[in-house]
């Protein structure tokens, strides 16, 4: 018989693998509070991993004890199983092991790979580009395409292309720089890393791709919000929106129509919320959202650590 804990964790894992990310991905409120939504996504990613691995472990270790801590202790200290150890217990334990190794392995691999590529980019930039005269601590890349990006890391780099500088006026350029600085200051690349790993580890799971895309968009919205607070001028929202449109539509970076529909609609969503800002989430709703995110992590943790229900 399956312990109720394993069933509860499996149900939670199933919810987090499909309906919950689908609902959050379709919800409209995240654009009103990108930071709260980002926290929710992190909780979903973490709780999803915890509950699926937990469900497998609880079921696999059931013959050794009534709760996960007890069973794990019995295994470690060599206490023999009190119940019959069947094939399905071994299958569950093997799956749990494979999943843990794969998730952590992919996470480490993505970390290492992006770190290596970033180092290469930084080396290239340091040799190829000169410090920008107009914007302190930014680099100017001599290319006509309007491009701005940052390379996160211990020595972050902010890069503007000559095309970007030519295309935008001073206020718009300041908006772009503020946006990229927000990415760097809030370490947005770390928010993306777990979802990169989920997507690489379980490419068949549609929620993984959906979550990754949603987090990517939310990170941009969050950077927009942070940039707005730092911008002077009468209408920083319009300035930033103009900069986004100018950067997105100028230059001849021919992209086949429809090829980037998902990324494109995210740009439109950014511009829309800048021009017609939605009301921020009421405090009570925000608190409820954050509480839900906390519960999402607390429930599987409690199920794993508290003695089994059955």
């Amino acid at each position: 018989m399956l312990p109720a804990t394993a069933v509860a964790l499996a149900v939670l894992a199933a919810l987090l693998a499909w309906p919950v990310p689908a609902l959050l991905g379709r919800a409209r409120w995240p654009a009103r509070d990108p930071l709260a939504a980002l926290i929710c996504w992190q909780a979903i990613g973490l709780a999803g991993g915890l509950s699926i691995v937990g469900a497998l472990l609880v079921h696999g270790l059931a013959p050794w004890g009534h709760s996960l801590p007890e069973a794990a202790w019995h295994v470690v200290t060599g206490v023999p199983a009190s119940g019959e150890v069947r094939g399905d217990h071994w299958v569950a334990l093997t799956l749990a092991g494979v999943l843990v190794v794969e998730l952590l392995g992919v996470l480490a691999l993505s970390w290492w790979r992006t770190a290596r590529t970033r180092r290469r980019h930084r080396e290239l930039l340091e040799v190829v580009v000169r410090p920008a005269a107009t914007v302190p601590d930014a680099r100017l890349l001599d290319t006509p395409a309007p491009v701005a990006f940052c390379i996160p890391g211990a020595r972050p780099l902010l890069v503007l292309s000559a095309g970007m500088v030519a295309e935008l006026d001073d206020d718009q350029l300041a908006a772009v720089v503020a946006h990229e600085r927000a990415h760097l200051r809030e370490h947005h690349h770390l928010y993306l890393l777990p979802f990169l790993a989920w997507e690489a580890a379980l490419p068949v799971l549609p929620a993984a791709g959906r979550a990754h895309a949603a987090v990517r968009t939310l990170v941009e919205m969050r950077a927009d919000d942070v940039a707005l607070a730092a911008l002077p001028g009468r209408d920083p929202r319009r300035t930033l929106a103009r900069a986004i449109v100018a950067a997105g539509t100028a230059g001849g970076t021919a992209v086949p129509s429809g090829a980037l529909a998902a990324a494109g609609s995210a740009v439109a969503a950014r511009v829309r919320r800048l021009l017609e800002p939605p009301a921020p989430l009421p405090d009570a709703v925000r608190a409820a959202v954050l509480t839900a995110a906390g519960l999402l992590l607390a429930v599987p943790t409690a199920l794993l650590l508290l003695p089994a229900l059955a």
Binding site: V176, E180, R242, A263, A268
Partner: protein, 119 residues
């Protein structure tokens, strides 16, 4: 005292501007206004070689040349920045990704629609 990155860029600029391969002593002389020691020039060249930006020949003394033009390096970088591969996007946080023609028209309409002072 200039940073190593600064020196690397300066040395590369000289190598790119030179008619042919240069020896370390040539570079020291070319950068005389900076008063660099020959060992410093060698350190910088060593770092650049390690990163794959310069190669040396077997002449005595060794002469150094750039492995690619500045334009080629810039093109390599831009190719990665503008590339659409997922892991490239993860590496670089671009301000705005590429937008297709339909989307561009929509963006312009959005901006015009709420513009209090149309051009």
């Amino acid at each position: 005292m200039a940073s190593l990155g600064d020196l690397e860029r300066t040395v590369m600029e000289h190598l790119w501007g030179a008619a042919g391969p240069l020896a370390a002593t040539d570079l020291r002389d070319a950068l005389a206004d900076r008063g660099l020691a020959l060992t410093t020039v060698h350190t910088v060249l060593g770092r650049l070689e390690q990163k794959g930006f310069v190669a040396h020949d077997e002449a005595r003394p060794r002469r150094f040349r750039p492995t690619a033009t500045r334009e080629q390096h810039a093109a390599e970088l831009m190719h990665e920045v503008l590339g659409q591969a997922g892991d490239r996007q993860a590496v670089l946080a671009r301000f705005v990704g590429s937008v297709d023609a339909e989307e561009a028209a929509l963006l312009r309409r959005l901006l015009a629609g709420t513009d209090p002072t149309p051009a």
